[in-house]
């Protein structure tokens, strides 16, 4: 496959810092789309604001770079008017869970067919390293110089509770699993949430003395484990990765079409 077929080369090299995990998500996403055999013209990528949201500019699909936290709202508008299109919604952890928290849970609840990718680097990178709702208790940030006292959301648990019908977690280290999970999420008919744990060496890494990006990638390797592994039983602090939820539920656009047909009968 040729990665170059899917990107807007004129904007490369991209603005992300050396080692930024968002580039690895871009890399994996291109492979997933290629493997699915989707036409670029049938894909709409809608993003909000933040480092992660810059991904929309680099991909040669139909792309909308919208407002902070509201990518899902714009994406729902596109999908409702053109249900035949494939919607991809990359978001950062702050964009998805803080500014766009309400959009996120209600999109999960509605089960509208699109793929939300939460690129979780545990920090607001673009604006200078403030803590996000996924930074976690005890972490350091420019706005938490004496350590953060906020507990973090668990994206997987939150999305599951809110009703998403496909919920998965991947990491920027596990690059053979990443395109497979994204592919399955895109294939799923309903609202898919994929959390991808990505390193931010510039802010999260530096503030939390995690060392180089290589060390941060090593932490993703040693700090995570496949769902239901024996390692998890022995060490509960490990973070599980894989597909947590995959279930069939009525899809929003299909249900809406039924309402249209019912209403038209009465005309």
């Amino acid at each position: 496959m040729a990665v170059r077929d899917y990107i807007r080369e004129r904007f490369f090299p991209h603005i992300w810092c050396p080692g930024c995990g968002h580039g690895i998500v871009l890399n994996g996403l291109v492979r997933a789309v290629d493997h699915l055999g989707l036409k670029k013209n049938d894909i709409v990528m809608v993003s909000g604001i933040g480092c992660s949201s810059r991904i929309a500019g680099y991909l040669d699909f139909h792309t909308l770079h919208t407002i902070h936290g509201r990518a899902l709202a714009f994406a729902i508008g596109v999908k409702m008017s053109r249900p035949d299109l494939t919607l991809l919604v990359p978001m950062g952890d702050g964009d998805a869970l803080s500014i766009g928290g309400n959009h996120f849970i209600h999109a999960c609840r509605r089960n509208i067919d699109m793929t939300a990718i939460v690129m979780n680097n545990r920090v607001y990178g673009m604006t200078g390293g403030q803590f996000s709702p996924l930074s976690g208790h005890g972490t350091m940030a420019t706005t938490a110089p004496y350590s953060n006292i906020d507990q973090e959301f668990d994206v997987v648990t939150l999305a599951t509770a809110a009703g998403a019908t496909f919920v998965a977690r991947a990491t920027a280290y596990h690059v053979q699993q990443l395109p497979d999970i994204l592919e399955e999420a895109i294939r799923h008919k309903g609202f898919s949430v994929v959390e991808v744990m990505t390193p931010c060496p510039t802010y999260f890494g530096r503030k939390n003395k995690e060392g180089s990006v290589v060390k941060m990638m090593d932490n993703l390797k040693t700090g995570t484990t496949p769902i239901g592994s024996k390692a998890k039983q022995e060490n509960p602090s490990l973070i599980e990765r894989g597909i947590f939820v995959k279930k069939e539920m009525p899809e929003y656009c299909a249900e809406y079409q039924k309402i249209i047909e019912r209403a038209m009968k009465g005309m």
């Binding site: 990107i7 490369f12 050396p18 080692g19 690895i24 890399n27 690059v175 053979q176 180089s212 290589v214």
Partner: protein, 69 residues
């Protein structure tokens, strides 16, 4: 699957930012950073074409081309 045979490593020096991810995680230690902090294939004869460098590169700066491609 037949064993993949290396043709070449295509490295885009303009895009490489020298993060070192590919160098560190190469299972055969094929890659190195040069004096300009750009990746080079120092030991291509050891490459097993696993393409992990290509998959992990955040900058899409390296491609492993094989005879089978």
């Amino acid at each position: 699957m037949a064993k993949l045979k290396l043709k070449t490593h295509v490295i885009n020096r303009e895009w490489c930012k020298g993060c070192g991810i590919c160098v560190h995680f190469c299972p055969k230690k094929v890659l190195e950073l040069d004096e300009f902090e750009k990746v080079v294939a120092a030991r291509p004869q050891d490459c097993i074409c696993c393409k992990l460098c290509e998959l992990r590169c955040p900058d899409l700066a390296i491609e492993v081309q094989t005879e089978q491609d």
